[in-house]
Subunit: 408 residues, 2 copies
Amino acid sequence: MDIERSPLARPFPNAPQIAGVTPRVTRAGYKDWGRCDLTYIELSEGTSVAGVFTRNVCCSSEVELGRQNVKAGHARALVVNAGNSNAFTGYRGREAVEQIMAQVAEHLGCAPEDVFVSSTGVIGVPLPKDKAREGVANAFAAAECSWEDAANAIGTTDTFTKGAVASAMIGETKINLVGIIKGSGMIAPDMATMLGYIFTDAAVDSAFLQDLLTASSDTSFNCITVDSDTSTSDTVLAFATGKAGNAPLCSFDDAGADAFAAALNDICRQLSHLVVRDGEGAQKFIAVSVSGAVSDESARRVGLAIANSPLVKTAIAGEDANWGRVVMAVGKAGEPADRDKLSIGFGGVWAARQGLPLADYDETPVTEHLRGKDISIEVDLGLGDGRATVWTCDLTHGYISINADYRS
Amino acid sequence: MDIERSPLARPFPNAPQIAGVTPRVTRAGYKDWGRCDLTYIELSEGTSVAGVFTRNVCCSSEVELGRQNVKAGHARALVVNAGNSNAFTGYRGREAVEQIMAQVAEHLGCAPEDVFVSSTGVIGVPLPKDKAREGVANAFAAAECSWEDAANAIGTTDTFTKGAVASAMIGETKINLVGIIKGSGMIAPDMATMLGYIFTDAAVDSAFLQDLLTASSDTSFNCITVDSDTSTSDTVLAFATGKAGNAPLCSFDDAGADAFAAALNDICRQLSHLVVRDGEGAQKFIAVSVSGAVSDESARRVGLAIANSPLVKTAIAGEDANWGRVVMAVGKAGEPADRDKLSIGFGGVWAARQGLPLADYDETPVTEHLRGKDISIEVDLGLGDGRATVWTCDLTHGYISINADYRS
């Protein structure tokens, strides 16, 4: 089945080289395809690392080892395998990951724990060790590639190549960030997985980098949903080489820390939105903004209940300002809400306020808004100051075609 | 849009009259349609009542009042309006319900609190009081109707009429139960709602009836899902007239209580399955059986995570034994699970055991099973003795057509 490029796609940005980061791609042949499927990214000595990982308890060995190794805070290389997720493969899967870590460690003269590995693709089939070994060896000899090549090679069922850039001034030093990400959907029997990597030449202490990445993820990667399903391999890693030469950032007391945090936030937000824009069958990008909740976390949960509701998502696909389905989704979220204080709008126009349909509600501008590709749903719970925005896409025939019809 | 009768439909059963219960239907004209849309069921004096209601916090006035009135434990009448759910209509909606309660109470010479009202259909439009008043008055004068007529009149977007029967011996007395239910899907801007009513001639104390109904619901109505969305009006009520003449059941110590409980369980199970069989776009009825969980409740949650997973549901629609998606759904349930103890099967054939794909897995019988209409998924978590079964349907193009394409 050919999947068309998402109508919500964004062009790959002009991404600068990041000092201390050398991406290379090669073909390990994990599947019978002609494309590069092994990405090897070398990081200079002294690179700090932070990571966030799937909460799925049936996670892959890559996730288990990554979660463990990120605690030490330093990294020398990243290897990403595409075409085989190595999930649900028991000890044999773990051996394959450990083999890659050892091979790269020997090559670089570093500890195996400094080598991070991700895999995405078919599950239940152990990553073939011979192909991995040969692929990694070839990667050592490959020429440095562009960010777009790397972003392409980590992709699986993505319909477009995803990258983002940001920058900040730390004192007199300009630092750059480049991010690449994959994730969109699945084709049998591959599992949709979000793998994201952020590289910066800034010098950032790994503990502080972890704090910042965790906080940024809470308002980006943890606020997107395509279909409420959570991969067993989702991973986001941030690497900071320090080659820009700024005084290392260790806390928000350091000059430039706010600027760096803002840039990291920005790139996480951009990357997360790109995944939604490639959601299976997506025709519309939907921002759900919830205010008036008892807390930000409560607002986020209400937002996700709306964003995960098949009835809300199909209504948007049908370009219908069906605020009743939004009411329903708010009510089922399991969070504090009061029917008679609830307000709901689309594209900045209130359809219902304080529990009642607006008497003078004019559907014309709302209908116009819903015909577009970028949709907003606003919900005010009228209870407190908590607020959050989550992002999703609509639920269309394309989703069913991709996920159910692949055998026909 | 014409919706075809579900391929999973069941015929309406031969339902006996229940002594003390008189159903009548009439046309209130809540929508511009030619069908009966008001159901009035009179209950003899001394009828006890129990109820379970939606947990959606944005519930309708009907639910608020029903939840309050059921505590007194007695009932004289039930009124069900179809075509207007009266949800999200503030004080005006509440006035309409109170008007119906008062009108029936005056007619029967009972307290308004003995009159139960449900409404289903469009939301955000207060139930028109004039149509309700005239409809109720007409219902008083209408002839007694069949159970099938009543089940038809409470329906909205249902593609078939749903009823179930059961019986039990209490000592030397045979008691009967008849149940009717509606719920299936939605057509803009109507909201899917499950309304179920069970009538028995058994004499059952209302507190005991409530205990039994709550317990039965936990393994029936609370174990089904079509799309994870929860209506603001869902209601199940059980009425016991006592006309069979058995010694009233007050606890499990009473002779025949077990038999009655089993019959109530049976009818709740049947009714809940009928709703799944009419799920929007459903082509397959899916039973998800989870064993080896740390508790029954944990097993139920894992089962619902699987049953609500769009990826699992589309895989079944595609007749694909995609156990990887089941692994993913188990892992995201938020319940204790161990990847390396997990076993997954379809139609009684294990595909993966203890965390690994079976080496001698023969897909042929599984493929055959998945081509049928009644599908089973088995999951053994390998942790404890907790078990549960939940029921759902597949996710197909029909769901999208019903919920997104109605404007085209």
